[in-house]
Symmetry: D2
Subunit: 331 residues, 4 copies
Amino acid sequence: MTVRFGLLGAGRIGKVHAKAVSADAKAKLVAVADAFPAAAQAIADAFGCDVRTIEAIEAASDIDAVVICTPTDTHADLIERFARAGKAIFCEKPVDLDAERVRACLDVVEQTGGKLMVGFNRRFDPHFMAVRKAIDEGRIGDVEMVTIISRDPGAPPVDYIKRSGGIFRDMTIHDFDMARFLLGEEPVTVTAHAAVLVDPEIGKAGDYDSVSVILQTASGRQAVISNSRRATYGYDQRIEVHGSKGVVSAENQRAVSIEIANGEGYTRPPLHDFFMTRYTEAYANEIAGFIAAIEEGATISPSGKDGLAALLLADAAVKSVTEKRQIEVAL
Amino acid sequence: MTVRFGLLGAGRIGKVHAKAVSADAKAKLVAVADAFPAAAQAIADAFGCDVRTIEAIEAASDIDAVVICTPTDTHADLIERFARAGKAIFCEKPVDLDAERVRACLDVVEQTGGKLMVGFNRRFDPHFMAVRKAIDEGRIGDVEMVTIISRDPGAPPVDYIKRSGGIFRDMTIHDFDMARFLLGEEPVTVTAHAAVLVDPEIGKAGDYDSVSVILQTASGRQAVISNSRRATYGYDQRIEVHGSKGVVSAENQRAVSIEIANGEGYTRPPLHDFFMTRYTEAYANEIAGFIAAIEEGATISPSGKDGLAALLLADAAVKSVTEKRQIEVAL
Amino acid sequence: MTVRFGLLGAGRIGKVHAKAVSADAKAKLVAVADAFPAAAQAIADAFGCDVRTIEAIEAASDIDAVVICTPTDTHADLIERFARAGKAIFCEKPVDLDAERVRACLDVVEQTGGKLMVGFNRRFDPHFMAVRKAIDEGRIGDVEMVTIISRDPGAPPVDYIKRSGGIFRDMTIHDFDMARFLLGEEPVTVTAHAAVLVDPEIGKAGDYDSVSVILQTASGRQAVISNSRRATYGYDQRIEVHGSKGVVSAENQRAVSIEIANGEGYTRPPLHDFFMTRYTEAYANEIAGFIAAIEEGATISPSGKDGLAALLLADAAVKSVTEKRQIEVAL
Amino acid sequence: MTVRFGLLGAGRIGKVHAKAVSADAKAKLVAVADAFPAAAQAIADAFGCDVRTIEAIEAASDIDAVVICTPTDTHADLIERFARAGKAIFCEKPVDLDAERVRACLDVVEQTGGKLMVGFNRRFDPHFMAVRKAIDEGRIGDVEMVTIISRDPGAPPVDYIKRSGGIFRDMTIHDFDMARFLLGEEPVTVTAHAAVLVDPEIGKAGDYDSVSVILQTASGRQAVISNSRRATYGYDQRIEVHGSKGVVSAENQRAVSIEIANGEGYTRPPLHDFFMTRYTEAYANEIAGFIAAIEEGATISPSGKDGLAALLLADAAVKSVTEKRQIEVAL
């Protein structure tokens, strides 16, 4: 069976998903919608699909599933509409920046019996998947301490920062999801520190650019997250899981792995400098996972509840910085 | 402009090229031919092209270029036919196992003004390309000593060995081409040692499975090649170029780069176990390079002459083992 | 000039220092004292020095400096006695487990004009020194985020745990000192999480075995520390300093650096399994640094105040775990 | 028991051995002799031993063993004298540059029942020993292909080159010994290529600076050696042994193992730049091995015969370059 897709939003991440859908033998990109007709047409030309309105996609009998890549503040509404329209839904994170709005949206999904997958692409990175698999196979025993370091090559524009919900809800949220993916047990407390070290303009916008977080589970497992909006050497994404029998880690990725040595030392190239090149395989695997869940009727993961859980951790981190104390969370 | 392709041969490597052509935005796979209709049909179904006879492809006005993936002993004849038919030709290595036959074939290509690219895919591996680029940028100064280690995960069936032309013409030939690609100067002498260490059946078939070769250029640059038909840890493909100002090397590649540590030590996964997964990007780049050469009218590289040069080095290696001495070559 | 040493305490760490002093061309081990005469005699035999009482060493005119390796609860008293006796003092960490007692002791040292160095050996590890040097040379710009991971190969006996002052004062204290060494600015807040994941007996003794700490400085620089009393793969000691222009890190150390590859993957040996083999060079450099400070009249580092600062951070960490909030510190 | 040593030759390598002997608990340096009294006195002052003449050391009843570090052309004579004097002998390589002279010298050693160890220090490097141990434990199965890359940081003065016996006898000789140590079977044929790429003055002196060698054993095992008198990135010393079940390799060594990353990439420091710092542990282990052989009456290894075997391989390599063919050797 082929899953027939509509794409909502023809921006940068929309193109990524258009490519992933088109390249998947089990999927077909049928139509794209965007507020800017030229953007939609460009996708249509490149991947051979129709340009339609959102309403047309909603009503289409030749579309089984949608990928939502529109601006964040439209996500929850679109999820509700397409759940009611009976389409399977893949939505880029976050569902919404407000937890109450997310809860209301997930209620609609549940009432309609809809299928919703949230775009935490890193769970589908082959290296991180191999880490998870090593844990599942018992190769490191019981999980004890998780370490996550993520640093972006550079800060986004301040305009973006202002609309982003802040670093915890925009950037750390991926690490919160990854921590949950790896800990194997829900966090019950969150502590965060935050500062402006990279760009004072980020501080003026009311946000931070350098943060540290500790999550702890009921049994005492701990995850430490270190984030920076700056990394001169590329897109830095590392995870390590320490357990009772050993430790497993995923290394950083680079486009080419050569090494040049001279009197200055041994030098390997910088890392990927962009999340799209770093996570190319993850985006393809993610769509494949969505299709498999649709076809096999399997539980969708990461689900809307996973999206909510990561957001609640982000909210708690914000509160921890403000109140200078541990915040309890119930996920 | 789109380059319209015919594919000759629908076997394992034919599929690789069908996929590479189909995925390239500047190319279109129009038709496939194979002595086994079912094999051709499988490609046609998977990639949405016609099944035609070789004759039909030869005569087709909607085909600009062919990819030859048929058995080795048909290559030279097909190259001549398609050169005369005015098609651009990509031919899997080797053109032929007999140097005289190759020379005659290249003469036809030249007389017809044909375009011929030979499938030394490793030149298009992004890591090896980065090594070549580092040399070109002067980062290691003058090239002095090249080291190439290639080991296959396992020996092919003895039936294949018997038709292969022997390890030097079948396996080392890639390393001969890589040595020429890296040395920046033609070898003038060849010395080789060879033995049967992996499988006595290979020896009974008159071939070797473990060989060492030294190439030397007129100015004294040296390349050392070490080959084995066995590597328990995967497809081992390393190059290192030492120069007057430094050294550049390309590391081995693996599908996932995690590391697990416990009381036994720190363990990373084995390498890719198959040339197709190891060289996925190289095959795509190779076809892209072929298309670029056709479209831009650029010099094709690696050319038929490159194919001949590698074969002459292989012939010299065979002779060196037999006569236990250095063999001079004029490339 | 040769610095003439007396050694107080002939236990495990006493032997390490006896060896370091004996091997240093600028030092001479004159005498050793220990409550167990046999232990003192063993050192005397191995390194060719006298066995004397503490009183005799205090009064000796042929001894310039002492190394205090006696039980922790004797450190402060001995420092005061030997400061009054005019000997230069190297004391194993900690000066005392009680910050007030430390302050009183340091007052005596100051009043007597004494010289006191505290045994934070890691500052003298050549790899960590090279990290500090890279920072000083401006190679990573301004320090922003420090990550320290230290894990012991195994937990000490519970009897030791009970006398240790707890994991923060016994184990993390080294990391607190290292964080101060690397941050280049004093921490002003401390947050810690702690749990018992390795051995329930440690919990029964009122201590933890798995802890996470965040330190933050006035300008917002952050250090994250992750500790475990367990590491199946050896003595895990890593530091990383991220700055505005780049990042510098020190890798783990192992006794031999070979790699074996087979069908299971590529395996390197486990790490050093003991702090003495891991820090062999650090102990030698530490004594050399102490001698240099004595001879050149240079400022001693790490000083008694460094010892106090690390202890205050440990006290704050304990308080943070109990009160579930950030604790302010004034170092 | 303590082995009492006399040291013949107080030059650079003499100092290395003086230090190794002095630091070994089972050895005592009693006396040193050198044609330059000041050089001998410097060693005597640093390590607390006598200065004596060679004749006095020969006749001394308080000396059990000698370390010969005098110029190469005196080695064979001194070995014979001290064998007759009943001293155990450690002699720096080579015994002599002429194989016939070596044979005659070894005959004297045998007739006198003397003990002679030859200074192939690399066999005692902990990393290379671990490679040998991995082979002995069967971890890579049967040895098939050995790869040795050694490059010096820079060429020695041409005056040294002229007296050195040429690169094969001076530099490659260590690799010939290492190949024998690793192959587990004697080479029966040798092929070598050689050129002058580093310094034309070396060519004018009749020597080469860049060489490649293949050794092959009776069963077909092959060792490939690549040498250069130049390496901008330090003292490059790598070995790899490929076998039927896997491969084992020893990595290069550096003084500090930090890594700095920025926009240019990830850079680790250059390697050790001098054989003495690279092989510090090997020199200590070597003397310890010599002492153990004396004390336990064990077979000495590497023996005079090992020294001869490496020289015969070097002679064959010279001949192979000249005659442009494989040379047979009988070791």
